[in-house]
């Protein structure tokens, strides 16, 4: 861990000797004293600390907005870190101009982060859409403006930038500082860092850090870390024979935009828009979601219904565990401390399998579910042949509803069948009341989500109206 973190900060080359577990936010504010990046929560929920991280991809650098409060400094090795200061030019950029013109900044505390995120959207060579820009703002809290002026800013941006998106075009039009053009060459010369192998028993394995920094933020800057992200072969999605291999380090964003995943979960992008925020999804990993073992982890609930298999590695040995038997109790796993989750295998579902994911949370976006759930079902005619039903937030572990699934198999998809499952579901779950909802509410949600799955997947057979008409 003694080697320095070698990266670019805006237009400057840096070799940082600080502890690699220091957050990028603290590094920026305390060490570099770049004060444009603000601290609003230190837990990924406000976006005031947003920065861009640029990573070499062939001959381009791809920039993504992330929350610097949850990112370890060590992860910047070989990358380009961009803060608001690095976007400033003598004149205002289109994003800055849009915010100024539309009055979309009041106290200004949230503003630099918003400038950074919106800019990253333009750096991608694609058409500007309102939905895309809203998605980019999903990780940003602004208490002053009520977002309406920011949305007017979006309209302003569309008009002022038009189709001149993409780094080259932005630079050519004076919308981005020219040094961005040199970044691919400058990044290329940074030597790769070895995986943190030397440590046999690190205090922490860290993937995206989006759970770990929230839970152990104060310890990480002084602990021995094993940064899994250095391990290239734990990333990426590959179709295999009968299954898809998903590297445990695959981020939520990468997962949801991969063609193979979209093929088996056609609506994955829609589901993903309800999970965390863009800034978090750019960091949060699929493997981290599973190992973190939150009873209400969204991706885990999906993988559980999909019947994933987990590959655990310790040194040279590896073994596989079906995800359905991985969770042993509240945050207790079938995993030794030295084992890492290296990959996840998703069986390719038989044709005509239907998959649905539901989530209810107090706030629709960027909120942890009160109850979530996934259903994978395959019918022959109207008869259910395969059924996998999972629910989160209703038990100490992400729950596979074994008995309910058994009940459904062989039955016809109809209202009576679903109604017959209500008591079985209630017997299988054991929610407790907490900040996400009372036990009673979660039980009620369990029933409602079950209905919602069928309504979504069998719109011709099951109507929400008639399902709920009899319920009081």
């Amino acid at each position: 861990m003694s080697s320095k973190t070698h990266f670019f900060l805006n237009n400057t080359e840096i070799r940082a000797g600080e502890h690699p577990g220091m957050t990028v936010l603290d590094y920026l504010r305390k060490i570099q004293r770049l004060m444009g990046t603000k601290e609003g929560c230190r837990e990924g929920d406000c976006g005031a600390c947003a920065v861009l991280v640029g990573e070499l991809d062939g001959d381009r650098v791809i920039y993504k907005p992330v929350t610097s409060c949850l990112m370890p400094l060590g992860e910047l090795h070989g990358k380009h870190l961009v803060t608001v200061e690095g976007l400033n030019m003598p004149h205002l950029s289109p994003v800055q101009q849009a915010i100024v013109n539309e009055g979309a900044t009041q106290c200004g505390y949230c503003t630099p982060g918003i400038v950074v995120s919106l800019t990253s959207y333009l750096m991608d060579d694609k058409e500007i859409t309102t939905e895309g820009l809203k998605n980019t703002l999903s990780g940003h809290l602004c208490r002053c403006t009520g977002y309406r002026s920011l949305k007017r800013g979006i309209d302003f941006l569309k008009l002022s930038v038009e189709s001149r998106t993409g780094i080259r075009s932005l630079v050519a039009n004076g919308m981005l500082p020219p040094y961005f053009l040199e970044m691919p060459d400058r990044l290329r010369i940074i030597p790769k860092l070895q995986m943190d192998k030397g440590i046999s028993t690190p205090e922490f394995f860290i993937a995206g850090g989006t759970d770990l920094y929230v839970q152990k933020g104060d310890m990480l800057p002084e602990s021995e870390l094993c940064r899994l992200a250095m391990n290239q072969d734990m990333k990426g999605i590959t179709p295999m024979d009968g299954y898809i291999r998903v590297g445990a380090l695959t981020t939520f964003e990468a997962f949801a935009s991969h063609a193979e995943i979209i093929r088996i979960i056609p609506n994955i992008k829609g589901y993903m828009s309800r999970i965390a925020s863009l800034q978090i999804r750019n960091r949060a990993t699929v493997g981290g979601n599973v190992v973190n073992a939150s009873p209400v982890g969204d991706v885990t609930i999906l993988l559980l219904a999909l019947g994933a298999t987990l590959v655990l590695k310790s040194g040279e040995t590896s073994r596989t565990v079906p995800i359905t038997s991985f969770f042993k109790g509240y945050k207790r796993l079938d995993k030794t401390p030295s084992e890492i989750l290296s990959e996840i295998h998703l069986p390719i579902p038989a044709a005509d399998t239907k998959i649905n994911f539901e989530k209810v949370s107090k706030r629709n976006h960027l909120d942890v579910a009160s109850v979530n759930g996934a259903m994978k079902v395959r019918c022959e005619g109207a008869i259910i042949r395969e059924m996998a039903l999972t629910m989160g937030g209703v038990a100490p572990i992400p729950l596979f509803l074994e008995a309910t699934c058994r009940y459904f198999r062989g039955k016809e998809v109809c209202q009576e069948t679903i109604e017959g499952a209500y008591p079985i579901v209630q017997r299988e779950i054991s929610p407790i009341g907490d900040i996400r909802g009372s036990a009673e509410y979660k039980r009620l949600l369990a029933r409602q989500l079950l209905i919602a799955h069928f309504v979504k997947l069998f719109p011709d057979r099951i109507k929400a109206g008639s399902m709920i008409a009899g319920l009081k």
Partner: protein, 768 residues
Amino acid sequence: MKHIDAVSHVRGESQFVDDVPPPAEMLYAAVYGSPVMHGKILAIHTEHARAMEGIVAVLTAQDVPGENQIGPIIPDEELLAGNVVRYVGQPVAVVVGTNPDSARKGVGMITLDVEELPAITDPKEAFQKGWIIGAPRTFALGDVDAAWQGCDLVVAGSCEIGGQEHVYLETQRSRAIPLEGKFLKIYSSTQNPSGVQRHVAGVLGMPIHNVEVEVKRLGGGFGGKEDQATPWACMAALAAWHTGKPVELALRRAEDFRMTGKRHPYSSDFKIGVTREGKVLAYEVKHYQNSGATADLSTAVLERTLLHSANSYYIPNVRAFGVCCRTNLPSNTACRGFGAPQGMFVLECALAKAAEKLGMPREEIQRRNLLKENDRFPYGQQAMHCHALTTWDRATERYGLPAAISRVDAYNKSHFETKKGIALMPVCFGISFTTTFLNQASALVHVYTDGSVSISTGGVEMGQGLNTNIATIAARALGISPNRIKIESTNTTRTANMSASSASATTVLNGNAVLMAIGQILDRLKSVVTGAPGISGKEKVTIIDETVFYDGRKTEWTWERLIQTAYTNRIDLSAHGFFATPGIYFDKAQEKGIPFAYHVFGTAIIEVTLDCLLGTYNIDAVRIVHDLGRPLNKLIDRGQVEGGLVQGLGLMTIEDLQYNKKGQLLSRDLATYKAPDVYFSPDDIEVEFLEGGEEALGPFGNKAVGEPPLMYGIGVFFAIRHAMRAFRPGTEFAFTSPLTPERVLLQLYSDFQPPNQDKLEKTFKGGA
């Protein structure tokens, strides 16, 4: 003109307290808070913390050299708890370290021996036990008791209103810097620099002038930094005083959540009497305010609740009772709206219940009872320039209400699992501090020899656009470009005895003070040119676009020449202006008076769609007609309306404060407390300004706009309720806010019987 700070904001160059480079040897403080709700302190164990590396000092109540007291109205609030702790998180010790992390670790090593005492979190229970703050108050108009008989329908009910976290994006923070001698300079993120100054001086036992407070800007305030920025500034000052070093104290988000007060939750009971036609004859309300552990501003907040208990309506017979109830929760405090939302919400509940019983659309009963010119408010003041009906009718016409209602009805007929709801919300908000003496402000204006201008006022810029407004006002009054005007930081050495920046009155008060100062300078400048060729009297001299005009004719005198000449003629180019709102008073013995300089009116129409399967909802559209007087800067004003509205929408829906039985806040950070985000906030918000002809008190006829729009958000509660009743016709749903998806769903399926429901720790909501 754009927001004066907009360019530095978007470039990330605007500095907040801890963005300023730290002075050498700065120390950092962190605060140890009580782990229990109520208890007698037997011992505070600080030895382990003191022994840690990087810890410089640990300070407790006995280290306070002056008065250990920071209550702003009633002296019942210790800076550091001495003998008794009254809520979880109450500051007990300040740990000072060489960096923030050491200080926090030090905090983790402190333990407290306490003898726990019985605790109360419910305001009505507190009231019954006599745990009240100040005296209960009753506002009355007409004769309620006699009026019930004449009513065709009398209904009663209860409301529970949750609190609200301010969620200023910048948490509380302060820096205290010892100066030579016994002087201190404080940088604070406060809405109330003079309050900080007074209390720091009191805590340290020094005269007020020993303390200089400097405020550049706030990353949001919303009332949360009106009084509750003070403790952190005092603790930083105490630490600086003891160590002789600069000290910074910045709360982390979770600390801020746990240790600071919020909007007051209320438990309220109402009774309303109406005629068959929906005319309200009598209204009685009892408000039990959950004040938290100390008085803070609670009595003033309650006063505004009572003052706004009839909102935009004329009700001939009213009795509004209110009492501040002391509970073992962090002391609740000012929050945009300052008690008014609670008062208005209860009346809207009463109207809704009456309308539902009468089988009359809610908006019909609302409109029938709107205030008309010269109608009396329960506190005796008459409605002048009353726009209750004007904004209502304009809104319904502009946004096609009848068509919208039929559209909603048609939708509800043809849809079963989703329903739409629509609701109107009229707002009438009084402008002025209800504590009359606070309605004063002063300003200091300097003109430099190059014609550039510097302005200091007692107002604090917290995003609301005060500095932009002041610059606009000054530029207009002086007849020069706003580019020549610099608005200085707010500093107690330039402006003394400021009132807090709150009550939506900051621009009104400080803007008028600036006008007073500018008036003096202009008068002197006009004397300078009088006597010059062609200029014979001051009266006909004006300055337009940086040029002196005489009797409407352009002269040779430019602004720069004028200033140069004035300077060489030894004319004073500085002035101090003072403004006190005329004509307002309030007699607390009678609970009558003219507490407000004027009222702001407006009406909102809110439309929602409810998913009756899942209990979730979407706010589809909000349409507003808002009374603005003569706008100073529409971009700023629009921002205030939209921002306030969305905060109000959050208050009524997803912003859900929950404490457990031990008085610990469960919604303790931004992961568990959800404020509106870009998706929650409706895309479709339209605001039309009703531009008034009458002279408001504000500079150039401008009306205050900071708080009133928040209360439009109340309408969303009734829009969702409308949709719920479309799904379950005739059901009487509870008047409990916030109306979270959980409350919606549980009420839509109230027959749902959870089997073998675990008897687990029940949480209670909103401190109520």
